[in-house]
Amino acid sequence: MANDPIIRLRRIVKTYGTGATAFQALKGIDLDIARGDFVAVMGPSGSGKSTAMNILGCLDMPTSGEYLFHGHHVETLDRDQRALLRRRYLGFVFQGFNLLSRTTALENVELPLLYRGEDRHVRYDHGMAALDKVGLKPWWDHTPAELSGGQQQRVAIARAIVTNPDVLLADEPTGNLDTERSIEIMELLTDLNRSAGITVIMVTHEPEMAAFARTIVHFRDGVVERIETGGAH
């Protein structure tokens, strides 16, 4: 069963609005993502790649279709069950970092562990270990305002991986960074994918960044246009 995809989408449709103003953002997506893959999702704006990401991340529900995560149907889960699924299996990295302001790097990283109910020592150990992985251990007590954009994104990555998730979802993680910082982040994601075996799904519109991925999925007009495999690796 190890070869079963971790994520399987079948005939996923997402429609916004109803009646005459209805807009179909996803028009029937079929997509398998293998365990341990590094996937870049590309496409022009409006192609449905962000909508697909939100559905993959269980932040949003498809209008119709099937979403199997580890072989379980996600589309039947309620709000709280999806939250618990995110808590247990998923990590998120956003374009805008989305760290809590006035909160130290360590406290930001600890947050998912708090919701998991881990005690103080576990939170500290895991939080520091995650910061160490992204190379920010010495900055553990800095707040986002005291960190550069690249450092903030690395804190966000530490927060995403501190629970040791199966899948890391990154929505334009380098969108707010310069090239040098972007490459550092991509190297970090590549390393996490290879050494920790985390499946990484990343939305980007920069081919240089997509080049780090093993699989590139191209979206256009709400459908998967084509899939390239065996890219950088």
Binding site: G57, L59, L84, R86, F92, R102, L114, Y115, R116, R159
Partner: protein, 402 residues
């Protein structure tokens, strides 16, 4: 789970000290205002009660005529005689003390100081009836009362204005052409129920006053102190029956005397003060309401501000219930803290202001509790409902919120 929520709530409060402070400030002001005003209002009521009780509790004042004043035309109703006093004291049950009173006034003169004052001719029973102890010296001896000796006991106002620094005991002063020796000084009583100075008085044996000032044996007023164990109204009824009999009033004819119960005055004054307290409390309640609107405002603003934070928490796996609990705990902590600070401020403010208003400080646990619960409820309600709205958002929409 609860531990986590409390950790999160306290972190959020400590991270946003200004916002937390502003939230609590509304509650602090509301609670402090309402509690201080009500406490001082209660103190004022108590001060009035105190003055009323200084009239002497359960005292019936027997005067000639119907009600206040001497009434319309016709012959002037007769004053009382010393025999009436004896009869009341010996025939009525439930009487603690009976004191006749013959009042006059005059200018007291001592070594170039002079002072207009009230002359009160009575017996030693007067002090017992009024429960008015002397501060120095002694009361009248029975033989002094019998003989109508020129001795007197003076009130504090007269003492201060006439004798200044001199010890008045044993001194003699002149009043309306006669010389009088001071044998005692009364304790201070302050203002009476109508604002008159009760300490501006000279008390003499009634026989002396009658002989030298009024010129007859008439008694203008009889003070009857009712024993606490007896019902004032019953005693009043017996007193009225006795006086009708003694004055030979036929059944059906109107009384030519009246009995005035000091309790009536106290009821009237207490009623007035209660109304004042209610008005003050209403003003205070408005300030609590305004404080509540302030809390509401800051809570609404802060939740709008925090929608993105809620989005982050939801995205990384918080269940809506957990986010809500955190906001609820924050609101409870801030509201209760504000309420407590408000109570402490009110406590010290009342202690500081009460002496300036010359009212006693009275701690009322009920109003403290009420103000606290009300403000805390406002804080919690307005902290909770906007948060509930935010927590029900789709995480994506919450995250996009700027």
């Amino acid at each position: 789970m609860l531990g986590t929520t409390i950790t999160l709530a306290f972190r959020a409060i400590m991270r946003h000290k200004l916002r937390s402070f502003l939230t609590t400030l509304g509650i602090i002001i509301g609670v402090a205002a309402v509690v201080t005003m009500t406490t001082l209002g209660n103190g004022a009521t108590a001060a009035v009660r105190e003055q009323i009780s200084s009239l002497g509790a359960n005292i019936l004042q027997l005067r000639p005529g119907q009600g206040f004043g001497r009434g319309g035309g016709g012959p002037r109703p007769p004053d009382f005689k010393p025999e009436d006093v004896t009869a009341i004291a010996s025939q009525l049950t439930g009487v603690r003390a009976v004191a006749p009173m013959a009042q006059s006034s005059g200018t007291a003169i001592y070594e170039g100081n002079n002072w207009n004052t009230t002359v009160n001719g009575t017996t030693a029973s007067y002090f017992e009836a009024q429960q008015w102890p002397i501060a120095g010296g002694r009361l009248f001896m029975p033989e002094e009362e019998q003989a109508g000796k020129p001795v007197c006991i003076i009130g504090n106002t007269l003492r201060n204005n006439l004798f200044r620094q001199t010890d008045p005991i044993g001194q003699r002063f002149r009043i309306r052409g006669v010389s009088c020796q001071v044998i005692g000084v009364l304790g201070t009583r302050g203002q009476g129920g109508f604002g008159q100075d009760q300490d501006d008085v000279v008390v003499m044996p009634i026989k002396f006053v009658q002989r030298r000032f009024t010129g007859d044996r008439d008694i203008g007023q009889i003070m009857v102190a009712v024993d606490d164990a007896y019902d004032t109204q019953t005693v009043q009824a017996s007193l009225e029956d006795l006086m009708r009999e003694r004055r030979k009033i036929k059944p059906g004819d109107a009384d030519n005397f009246n009995v005035f119960d000091t309790k009536q005055i106290s009821d009237t004054l207490t009623g007035t003060t209660t109304i004042l307290t209610q008005i003050v409390s209403a003003v205070a309640a408005i300030s609590l309401l305004v404080g509540g609107i302030g809390i509401m405002n800051i809570m609404l603003v802060s939740v709008t501000e925090r929608t993105r934070e809620i989005g982050i928490r939801l995205a990384i796996g918080a269940v809506a219930r957990e986010v809500l609990m955190q906001f609820l705990v924050e609101a409870v902590v801030l509201s209760c803290l504000g309420g407590l600070i408000g109570l402490v401020i009110a406590f010290f403010a009342s202690i500081a202001i009460a002496p300036l208003m010359q009212v006693p400080f009275i701690f009322d646990p009920q109003i403290n509790m009420l103000a606290f619960v009300f403000s805390a409820a406002i804080g919690v309600v307005f902290g909770y409902f906007p948060a509930r709205r935010a927590a029900s958002l789709n995480p994506i929409d919450a995250l996009r919120h700027e």
